[in-house]
Each structure stands twice: as structure tokens, then as C-alpha cells.
Amino acid sequence: MSKEPVKAGRVDPRDFLEIDALLSDEERLLRDTVRSFVADKILPDIAEWFEEGVFPIELAKEMGALGLLGMHLDGYGCSGSSAVAYGLACVELEYGDSGTRSFVSVQGSLAMFPIRAFGSEEQKQEWLPQMAAGETIGCFGLTEADAGSDPGAMRTVARRHGDDWVLDGTKMWITNGGVADVAVVWTQSDEGVLGFIVPTDTPGFSSNDIRQKMSLRASVTSELVLDAVRLPGSALLPGVRGLKGPLACLSEARFGIMFGAVGAARACFEAALDHAAGRKMFGKPIGSFQLIQRQLVEMAIGVNRGMLLAMHIGRMKDSGSVDAAHISMGKLDNVRMALDVARTARSVLGASGITLEYPVIRHMNNLESVYTYEGTHEIHTLILGQALTGISAFE
């Protein structure tokens, strides 16, 4: 044996399991590009945006120019990158903030994806290039005040009037709602659940932003009101009927969240690691105390395990072998992990941990939304329970 069986003392605390080596040169370059974009354009101002409760809409076009919007879709001005590349971009974006990652998830996976997957050729040509460029902002209206985990209970309805459709109802908790130029809205109808492309300047359409949020403050969350919104027949997404339409979009977005959560966790872990090295108490760095070391170790395990899980499911998606239940496992475990890491990091930072000077409490609060949206923790547990037993325990 010429090689040392085990090398000693040469691990990188920031890439403990050398997960970098699992990436191709191209994936690494793409990751590094998004990393610099986040460092240059998001991190310097994010605390202020969060505190003021604003989403930096001016970033949309810059994200579009980079190729971030609908990046995993092909044609129509989209980048056509792999699923893993999309995931890596989400990691970096959410290292910045869950709000900026949410913007990209909604635009690409919830608004552009249904048009790409279920739209007519005319719809794809009309909407996708301008959405990929960030010139047109999209949102996705599925949830209603009384239909959250059970979207089948939605009451928004579409009725035929000659060749037109008329939509009535109210959607709730809609990311980008107040800044959107176009909404993909899901409704009941005589023909089952349908999806529509609704320009937000259509008469009868209005939105109200939800104020006083304590989470995802650098992201717009709104109510959408559809009051006799009349649309031409060409606004209907022709390629899908039934809840499987919106659920397919959610699978796409959850895939990105499964990666993104690792980014938020990494940001918290790194803040804690730096703090533990620099902060002195009882005459020594707090990182020299066993209790703090244990917290750092648990965080490092969580972040590394989460990244491996996401990478594995990402490779499955690129090879065409992924099932929605796999993505549920990734979303469930990685968001839970990220929330644990954020809370632990919050504690390691002591009082500093509650200020926006450090990223930790911002991520911690954001992750509460991430835990709930795109299928709550419980709903993903039930999806996995059903996948394991073949028995649905939803109702």
C-alpha cells in the first residue's frame, strides 16, 4: 500500500466531506458565479431589506441576465441547466436569504414551469422569454385561506362564458403576488382543477400584501382577489387537468428548497464557527468549551448530511429516476435540519444572535416559512408514510 490509509488533520471545516469533489468543473463554476452574485448583490443589503420588509425587485433583471430564472427549463430563453445545477444555485441564493431563493423558486418552478410543461406553443413563446429575462414577474396562486394543506378544498372557480372564462375567488399567502405581472392561478371548474395564466392588470384582479410578517420579510407575500376576472380561452393551460398540475409544480419547487435549506444552514453554521473562534469568555474562545464544540459538530453533521442528501436526489432527478416521494424526504429532512442548525447557531452567538448584524436570526425566522410552505413538515411525513405503507393517512 503506497497511499496512507487515512490522512490526518487535513479537513476543511467549511467542506468537511469534500462534497465539492462531487461537482463537475462546470457545476463548480456555476456555483461560484452565483456565490459571487450573492456576495456582491445580496449580502451587503439583505439585513436592511429584511428590516424594512422589502424585496429588491431591481435584482430580477440581474438574475435574469445571469440565467437564474427558469434555469432548469430548456428553450424559450431559459438556460437549460441540469437539476443539480439548479439545486446548487438555490444553495447559494438561500445562503443569502430564503426570500431571494423563494423569488427564484416561484418564478422558475411555480410560474414558468407550468407554462413550459402545460402551456400551448403560443403561451410559451409569449411568456417564457420575458420571464426568463426577469422583465416579467410571475406568481403562483394555489393556496386559499381555508385550503392550505388540502388544496383540493379550494373554492376559487372558473366558469365558461362562451369562448371566455370568468374566474372568481381569493388566493392567500402568494409569494410575489403584489409585484407580479402575471399569475398562474389554479381553480375548480366543471372540468376539474384548471390552471390559468392571468395578467395582473386584467380588470377584476387585485392584490393586497400581507404586512406584519416576522419571516421572509425580504419577500412579498400577498392575497390575490379575483372578482369576475374575464379571460379569453387562450389563457387556459391546455396541457393538464386536475390537482396533478399544481402538484407537479410543487415537486419542482420543493426540489430547489431541499437544496436551498442547506445554504441557509451553512450560513448559520459558518457564523457560529467564526463566532466560536473569536468570542472569548472565561479567558478562552468559547469554541474551546466542550458544550460549544458539540453544538458545532452537530451543526456540521447536519449541513454535510443535508448536502449529500440533496446531491443524491439531484443526481437521481438528472438521471430520470426520481419520485416525488424522494423529494419529499429531501424537503422534510433538510428544512428540519436547517431549522435545528439555525436555532443552535442562534444560541452559540449569544445576544449577538438576535441582531440582524449576523445572518442567523434572519435565517431562523425565514425557515419557519420554509418549514410550512411547499407542503408542511407533517404533510411530507404523510407522503412518506404513504410511500412506505401504501396507505394514505391524510384524511
Binding site: D25, E26, D32, S79
Partner: protein, 256 residues
């Protein structure tokens, strides 16, 4: 318009450097990145090429086992790259580098050559001037801005007190200062397209460059010493007149 941009791959500045105990050069690890300051030259080249419907060719003397840095510059939009990696080049100093780059540029033919002001691993800062001399081109150094009109290059040359406006007919060599332009991010399409772009790898023999390596360098690094430890700064207690003290110190340092 063909624009050659000289770029260097260097060890990742985030990891500590090691020096070769014999020749005192920085040991080149497997993983190398594009020298950050070269992004300005690439950006300047791309902007000038866009304005003139021209072409950007990257030229680099660089171990070719990892071309990540070159690919990054290609992903930004350069059209092709020429990378010279030859076992014979080990231990080459600035003059050999300049001779190799000059041979590659001469073979390719370029109307304009752009380089950084100095690399951020060796910090020698003489290669561009040597290169200009070897190519018989005017050396337009420290450009904070560059414009092309009708076969003439006009730059704003950064000086300690401001800038000079300098003009020369093409062909010419320009060095771009950091901060002269805002380097673009590679786009995802650019990143994915970069692997289709040609990277030529001629040997020294093919370029007709002889006596390279430490022997051909005409220089020897005799000794390397660590920089002296920084001494503690001066603390000024503000009793209402701290600003005058600070101004005095800045004047002494000749920065104002």
C-alpha cells in the same frame, strides 16, 4: 479586430501558498483559479470586441491539468484560448513568460493585446512591458479606461495624482487596472457553452521558443524572506483635535 487577453491561473488565494525550496517559485497546486485581477482585462477586451465586432482570444502560460480559470474567462464570453503548458517551462521567470506569450500572440496575430497590471501570486509586474517590447508594440500601461477609434487606442492612464490621456496607433498593448471596468458574471449559458470553445495547447517547440525554464530566465531568486511583522499602529485619543493628528500622519505617508 482580434484582441488577445493575457490571463493567468494562480493557486486559490484563499489557501496558503507554498514556495519551492529550490527555485523559490510558488508551487502550483492541482487546483487553480483565474487570477481575480485578470477579470478586468477580460472584461475590457470583451467590451472593446463588442464595440468593434471583434474577437477575444485568451493567452495563458499555465499548467493545463486544470483549466477551470481559463473556462471561467471563456464563460464570460471570450471566443477561444491558447494555453501553453510545457514541462520545459518549469521554473521560468518573467522574461521567459513574456517570450512564450509573445510567440503565441505573434502566431495568432492580434491588433490589440490586453493584460493585467501584475499577477496576484508573483506580483512581479513586468511581464506586460516585456511583452510589448518583444512584440514591438507601444506599452499603454495602467489604463482605467480604453476606447478604440479607427485603428487608434486611447486610454486614461492612471497616475498617482490623476490620469493622463494617452493615444497610440494599433497594434498596441494595454494593461487594465483593477476597477477599470466592472467584470461581468459568466452567464449560465456561457458556462455551459464554454466547454465547446476551442482551447489550443501548443508546445514551446511548436511556438519556436527555445532556452526556457530557469536557465533561460536570466534571473535567479537568491533568497526569500517573510515580510516583516506589522508593527502596532498609532493610537490617537480624540480630545477634539484627533483629526489634525490624522491629517498630519496622512501627509507624512504622502497619501494626501
Amino acid at each position: 479586430m482580434k484582441i488577445a487577453v493575457c490571463v493567468k491561473q494562480i493557486p486559490d488565494p484563499a489557501t496558503p501558498y507554498e514556495l519551492d525550496s529550490e527555485n523559490h517559485f510558488v508551487v502550483r497546486p492541482d487546483d487553480q483559479v483565474l487570477d481575480d485581477t485578470d477579470r478586468y482585462g477580460v472584461e475590457m477586451g470583451l467590451q472593446l470586441a463588442e464595440a468593434t465586432d471583434g474577437e477575444v482570444v485568451l493567452v495563458s502560460m499555465s499548467p493545463a491539468n486544470n483549466l477551470q480559470g481559463i473556462r471561467q474567462a471563456l464563460a464570460m464570453g471570450a471566443d477561444k484560448a491558447i494555453v501553453i503548458d510545457d514541462e520545459a517551462l518549469r521554473g521560468s521567470g518573467a522574461l521567459v513568460t513574456a517570450r512564450v506569450l509573445a510567440a503565441a500572440i505573434e502566431r495568432e496575430g492580434a491588433d490589440l493585446v490586453i493584460a493585467g497590471t501584475e499577477s496576484t501570486d508573483g506580483y512581479v509586474g513586468v511581464v506586460p512591458q516585456m511583452l510589448a517590447e518583444l512584440l514591438g508594440m507601444p506599452a499603454m500601461t495602467f489604463a482605467r479606461k480604453a476606447e478604440l477609434t479607427d485603428g487608434t487606442i486611447r486610454i486614461e492612464r492612471q497616475t498617482s495624482g490623476g490620469y493622463d490621456v494617452v493615444e497610440a496607433p494599433l497594434p498596441a498593448l494595454v494593461t487594465a487596472t483593477s476597477g477599470s471596468v466592472e467584470p461581468r458574471y459568466p452567464t449560465f449559458k456561457g458556462i455551459m457553452g464554454a466547454k465547446q470553445k476551442p482551447i489550443e495547447q501548443p508546445s514551446c517547440a511548436e511556438l519556436g521558443v527555445e532556452s526556457v525554464g530557469s536557465a533561460g530566465s536570466g534571473q535567479e531568486i537568491v533568497e526569500v524572506r517573510p515580510a516583516p511583522e506589522r508593527t502596532a499602529g498609532v493610537k490617537i485619543q480624540d480630545e477634539g483635535d484627533a483629526h489634525t493628528e490624522i491629517i498630519k500622519l496622512l501627509e507624512q505617508a504622502k497619501v494626501i
